[in-house]
Amino acid sequence: MTGILYPVVVLGGLGLLFGVSLGLASKVFAVEVNPKVEAIRKVLPGANCGACGYPGCDGCANAIVEGKAPANACVVGGKSVAEEVSKIMGVEAGEFNRQVATVLCQGDCSKAKNKYKYTGLRDCRAQNILAGGSKSCSYGCLGCGTCVDVCNYNAIHIVNGVAFVDKEKCVACKACINVCPKHIIELVPYDNQFVVKCKSNDPGKVVRGHCSIGCIGCQICVKNCPEQAFSFESNLAKINYEKCTNCGICAEKCPTGAIFSGLEKLNAKAQ
């Protein structure tokens, strides 16, 4: 009988001892958590996807309460979560700036040149290893559709050899952004129609040689923008999306068409 009794008593006793001392310790070392953090944590989706840029929903809730992140920091939760959070924080929800992933390349089969014919694995990452992909422009979309594969929302399609994101379906989960070996997918505010759809840092002449719709760095957009929303860095025009008023002058003036002017006009042109 003692053969079984002693182990049970000893192990049970030790367990009880440690349990009680841990319980006491948790009282002594209790950290006061801001009740707002817990409240916000409950409202957040709890997927711990990390799309907000913080380590999980706990990190995001902390950042919001500390004021480091805006009330609409959760990209996946969208407007409804942002409203709940701002109720807890006691601030106005403000305009929820929905962001969508955008592929910054328009060099499709008819516009961009190839340096070789790629017949390997249908995966951009594999193709990229082989001399940076078949496109002669080293910044261009490879069009193998790795982003299409990782998209859980069926928001990306390959159109004539270049990936295109459906604005309506995109939830800004960043899966495609993380997988793209060329790093040409970026988050752009949903309301901004005009986007410089080129990532090439090559000088204009080289860009021209590779592709007919790339940004050649002529800076016409910079000069013509009435809002001074454009900046020019390493041979590439950049739009400050906050300043942009969607007037469309840049897209009209752009000699190559590298400034994308919204799907509506693209469709109109096609018709």
């Binding site: 002693y6 182990p7 000893v10 192990l11 030790l14 367990g15 440690f18 349990g19 001392s21 841990l22 310790a25 948790s26 070392f29 209790a30 950290v31 380590p55 290893i129």
Partner: protein, 190 residues
Amino acid sequence: MNIFTILISTIFVNNYVFAQFLGICPFLGVSNKTETATGMGIAVTFVVTLSSVITYVVHHQILARFGLEYLQTIVFILVIASLVQLVEMFLKKSSPGLYSALGVYLPLITTNCIVLGVAILNIDKEYNIIQTIFNALGASIGFAIALLLMAGIREKFEFSNIPKPLQGFPISLITAGLMSIAFLGFSGLV
């Protein structure tokens, strides 16, 4: 064996990471930045030393008295798990920065084999309490040194031109192997 020999032996000759291959998970996991590596080293030093003392007392005063030496493993794990919980609470209160920097690796000390390994080896080698403390101290200092060395090298990786297939973990594993070979040079010292 005197205390000095034990220290030299566990820090260099029988380094728990490089010679006995214990604690490899945090060795590769937390060695990205020297800052977190230092924090982890200190946390492990604290846990290993304290758990060695407690397991020594538990083993000789309780288990040996009732002839329950066969319960060693499970009791030791119980001790370590509780201790890590305590350290976690303590860190959360006293230094939230270090707490968040260590992240998931702090609770993972529970399953870090170096902690259990040192506790069991102390008993196996029949050390007395003083020797136990210094063996644990040496083991964790050796672990901290290994972690710091690795972190220093990995910080340099960011600026070096590593062939693509080797980037990330492959080069870290190769480095760890080379460091282990280098530490073999200490053998015969004690």
